[in-house]
């Protein structure tokens, strides 16, 4: 909060102005920057995995862990408590999984991530996946301090998913279009989704996957530069 201006004694009942200029989203950004600094200091690449409920975030993280665990020392922050795949599955691959209790919140914020970072030894890892809450609306405005941000959507959500949520794509580095095997059944044109994402954010990288089989996971790894 900005320092309080000096208060001139006012008459009882008199109305006076207080300038605040307090940006609540900025406050989170500043915490995110601190997280980023800490991660960089320990040479940990953190990836914020966003996406709608049921889009396949967790399955993707699992596939990425499986593919990368020989090359990287990995940990996962699990922010989505509605997922059916629990921490055990992740730990089956020998990676540490830290659940983050978001309580009543519908998104992760930098403060929650800050606290979770205190629970692990950053010297032990060099790659961190942060699974965000299933939500395409507010995570865009709450950066966590990650180096890259992925958004996972699936064809089963219909053809309007990208155009209906432009801000999350503006704030992401990679979009993963999942469940490609169901595109025809859904009557969804994947190339249109790709074009929609590129229209909003020309810099965004696009990967098309079948999370269940693992098809396209290599595309995601390349898009992330891992």
């Amino acid at each position: 909060m900005s320092p309080l201006k000096e208060v001139v004694k006012a008459e009882e009942g008199e109305i006076y102005d207080i300038e605040l200029e307090e940006d609540l989203l900025r406050a989170n950004e500043e915490l995110a920057a601190k997280n980023r600094e800490l991660l960089k200091k320990h040479n940990v690449m953190a990836i914020d995995v966003m996406g709608s409920i049921g889009s396949g975030k967790t399955t993707l993280i699992e596939k990425l862990v499986r593919a990368l665990k020989k090359k990287y020392r990995i940990a996962v922050f699990k922010g989505d408590l509605t997922t059916t795949i629990d921490a055990e599955l992740i730990e089956r691959h020998g990676v540490e999984a830290v659940p983050i209790n978001t309580g009543k919140e519908c998104h992760l914020d930098a403060n929650l991530v800050r606290k979770a970072l205190q629970k692990i030894n950053l010297e032990d890892i060099n790659l961190l996946f942060i699974e965000n809450v299933g939500n395409l609306i507010c995570p865009a405005d709450f950066p966590l301090g990650s180096e890259k941000r992925i958004v996972v959507i699936s064809v089963t959500e219909g053809p309007y998913m990208v155009v209906k949520h432009p801000f999350i794509f503006m704030n992401a580095d990679v979009v993963v279009i999942n469940k490609k095997d169901l595109a025809q059944a859904m009557g969804v044109d994947i190339e249109k989704l790709r074009a929609d994402a590129k229209e909003i954010n020309p810099n965004i990288k696009v990967a098309v996957t079948n999370g269940r089989t693992g098809e396209g996971v290599k595309e995601v790894i390349d898009a992330l530069g891992l």
């Binding site: 909060m1 309080l4 208060v7 006012a10 008459e11 009882e12 009942g13 008199e14 109305i15 006076y16 102005d17 207080i18 300038e19 605040l20 200029e21 307090e22 940006d23 609540l24 989203l25 900025r26 409920i53 509605t82 009543k104 919140e105 519908c106 998104h107 809450v133 299933g134 939500n135 609306i137 507010c138 865009a140 405005d141 053809p159 309007y160 155009v163 209906k164 432009p166 801000f167 503006m170 249109k192 929609d196 229209e199 909003i200 954010n201 020309p202 810099n203």
Partner: protein, 129 residues
Amino acid sequence: MGIHPEMHEFSIVKQIVKSILLVAERYNTKKVAEVNLVIGKLTFLNPLRVRFFYNLLTEDTIIKGSKLFIEEKRGVVKCPSCGYEGDIMYEEDPVHHIRIPTLHCPRCGGVVEVIGGRECTIKSIKVVA
């Protein structure tokens, strides 16, 4: 509270109320008369819902009954390639018939950066002495 599409503004309004109460306490004031918010158009925040939760969450506080003014700030972009600075562009999608924002630079076709329209600021408040 589950994850409901219409509840996203709830937690940020909670923070707004908390901030105002903190300030009001520091000024030892008994009543907040007016609150001025600035909300960027490139945020997830819907001013109508912000207002709804504001009314709800100030109910049992000294902020109850205050006038809430919400100024919406337009999205502003800057192009690192050609220096273009201006409002964010919207494209009319021919297939979906919907306006979508784009980070394409209207002047050089490069990619712009967002420099404004992403805030949620408590600009000022008016209190009763």
